[in-house]
Amino acid sequence: MNYVEALIYVFLGISVTFNLLGSFALIRFPDVYTRLHGATKCTTFGTIFAVFAVITHALYQLHKTGDSKYLQMALHSVVALIALLLTNPTGAHAIAKAAHLSGVKPARAVVDAYEEKLGGGSE
């Protein structure tokens, strides 16, 4: 095993660890906001490293065989990474705002600053 394959294994290990941690956060956390926080951050980070592993693999195969389909694989992985990085935080923000406006309150929260900003404080 050379250094490039070891780097691919490290990237895959980080990716799988963070994806599993994100889904455990989805199960274990108490309300929708903490679940959104844990799951979105961890799965976005894990998917970034999965794409890094695929790019490293594709560039290594391109260097080894010279087949141009590996260059295509690396470039399309970069496009998938950019699409995911642009859309994932925006979607999470939209879900959080919609959950608050549809009446779901944070569990065990002392201060709800967004409720105060909206002007509908219950106390």
């Binding site: 599993l20 929708v32 592993a53 406006l101």
Partner: protein
Amino acid sequence: MAFFYATVLVGIAGLISVLRLILGPTVPDRVVGVDTLNTLVVAGMVLLGAAYDRTIYIDIAIVYALLSYIGTLVIAKYLQGGLA
């Protein structure tokens, strides 16, 4: 072969988020489960594309990421008071 095993583990994470989709007490909980599942499916498709040496899987992952984003935005818009 490492890419295939990584895909299996990401699939296990996806099954755990399906559990939240079934259990979730409120509607936003289920939406969070679906959103996490979409991200994990994109990761799994990219890893499978590398495992089987097929670039078309990665193209499908791009389209899936953009369409699932639109779906999430529509559900969020609907939850906060109508689609109008």
